[in-house]
Symmetry: none
Subunit: 199 residues, 4 copies
DNA sequence: AATGAATGAGCTTTCATTCAT
DNA sequence: GATGAATGAAAGCTCATTCAT
């Protein structure tokens, strides 16, 4: 059972690495098997189909993100500190594991990602909404739906990562500017008088 | 020439619709041809290969977005009004043309999207950076790189659209909340004293 | 009629050049048309089909060879001189027009070349057999079937050409040896006591 | 390993038979597979591509010829006997395996046959050149390049086979004449006073 | 006669999946 | 459980040929 879990994880990690470089459709099952050092047929001992493997990959990556981020959060700290820590940990994780980011982006924009899936229960999303819920309850964040706050913040983190990925080489000078992004986002979501709204 | 352009556009639009529903790899060339009412071989009169068609699709969609958005911008208005108009027009365009959004998301997260492509010249990106440049020059926006501002704002718009796409049915109650998102983003990017930074 | 003939010849020559480099199946009709400066459809004004064009090419090349070689033969000379002249003119022609040789070789070894075709009437072959017939009648050649003599001699010429084509660069030293080949062939076919036959 | 070799050989033999009748381009991979009793995809387990299969076919046929002919040569016999045996064995092999001859002719006159390939190492060609080298060293053959002798002799054998293939039906009377061809060739290559050369 | 866009049959090739060993 | 050769549906693409202009 333990060994089996190890082999399954090995396959998932192999798939992740290959998908990072070649995309879903540039990554045949046989390539995943070879990279993991097993025979092609063996993949079907652990997954019902390639599609099934990709769906499990989604679950796997999300749970890895959840474990990594939630374990580093200290609820006893002031919320603003927790927010900056979340930002730092998320960007750190994605930069350390580009395969996570590449996979998630591809998955989300693929036909695998259905409305049902998005609305299904999900520990990571629940944790994240609870996180923002706490910010609201502590009167630190604007009293909006935590779901919306979560999406806005995660979206901004992805944008920053994407930027670093594509322009990294050219833009070391701007690194300090990039450090301002979480502050901008924080300024957007923190409790405050809303600016002159636009009718 | 005119007819040819029409047929090429017809093929592009057909591809866009089908890719929205089935993804790049769920959309064979034959399906695009059938949907456009031509023979499979005809596609190759207008595109060198399927990959070439997808790259042209990217150019096509970007130029459509550019035309739509830039034509609706009035530089004589105060910048904040222009910002809200941009937001409204972008979300309106993406909601009216879901195929545009689905395609762009898939393209960006696919292996088609290379670093070189991201760094190449692009009217739409240039227009967008000039837009934010003007906000900075008018002392309305924070003095950051317009590139970064553009990415943050576009990323947030995409996040909002994604949210609407997946949760729309359940969440009519939140619509007013969604209307607050551009205000949050505006609060994040407008010139102001930065909040207590986090060391 | 004259202009038409010119265009047909132009197409034939274009086809020949392209087939030399790319082979029958590497030479689409559209490529021939483009090379000749006409539209693809125009080819079908002059030929019923691509296969038909290839068959006409065979006739065309053979008649060109026939015209070239027969016009340079002087029946008043001693036969041995005529033989060496034939050899020289054939090798000269093939080296000057590699497209002729490449085409003929390909045609002969292709499914186009049927037994019927080989046995059909053919001015070039008839001229050639008459040539060797005269050698026999003049008691200079062995009294064999002129058909067989023709095939032996032509086959040897082809062999020599092939050798020059593939080993030319390396083998300038051997050129004088190559000059001995027609003498060897002459020694083989000239009237003489046959060597000790092998039972 | 043994089974795999068997199946590969089965595919090669199937391809050979079909190419004999239909030519390279009249023989789809699917036809080869069907003839061998396997699925189309299976061909790609043994060959990287159709082109690759054709190149392997060339190697295969040449090695078969080499094995057949070299095994039947007895170097202890007088050279003239060995020469006539070579002739007889070659014509016998080609007549017994017309697919060998058809394939080799097509291959040689196709774009597959490059100058590099012709100049590459090749056991069969080396054996053949050594064969003629021995004739020279035994003072039986003219002191020419063995390469040239090999080409001349092989070319003549091919010519004879071609003749038999196309005129066989009509020409039983000539069979005795055909038997004279190797004697003519022998007379051409054997050591002797060259005939009156032609300036 | 000439054009060249359109056609679609037919090809090569890939790859998810199966199953005898 | 593991293997990997075999499968065959399905894809991308080519190109001989047609036909409205």
């Amino acid at each position: 059972m333990d060994i089996n879990q190890d082999k399954k994880t090995l396959l998932l990690e192999s798939a992740l690495e290959l998908i990072r470089d070649h995309g879903f459709h540039g990554t045949p099952v046989s390539m995943v098997a070879k990279h993991a050092g097993v025979a092609a047929g063996t993949v079907y001992t652990y997954f019902q189909s390639k599609d099934d493997m990709i769906k499990e990959l989604y679950t796997y990556v999300k749970s890895q993100i959840y474990l990594e981020i939630s374990s580093k959060d200290d609820p006893r700290l002031p919320f603003q500190s927790r927010f900056y820590a979340l930002w730092k940990n998320m960007t750190g994780l994605y930069l350390a594991k580009p395969s996570f980011q590449r996979f998630m982006e591809q998955f989300i924009s693929s036909p695998f990602n259905t409305a049902e899936l998005q609305q299904s229960v999900d520990v990571w999303r629940e944790w994240l909404e609870l996180f923002f819920q706490q910010g609201i309850e502590q009167n630190v964040l604007r009293p909006l739906s935590p779901k919306i706050l979560a999406i806005m913040v995660l979206g901004s983190i992805i944008s920053q990562i994407r930027y670093l990925t594509y322009f990294n080489s050219k833009t070391q000078l701007m690194e300090e500017e990039l450090g301002l992004i979480p502050q901008m986002v924080w300024d957007g979501i923190k409790r405050q008088e809303l600016s002159d709204s636009y009718p």
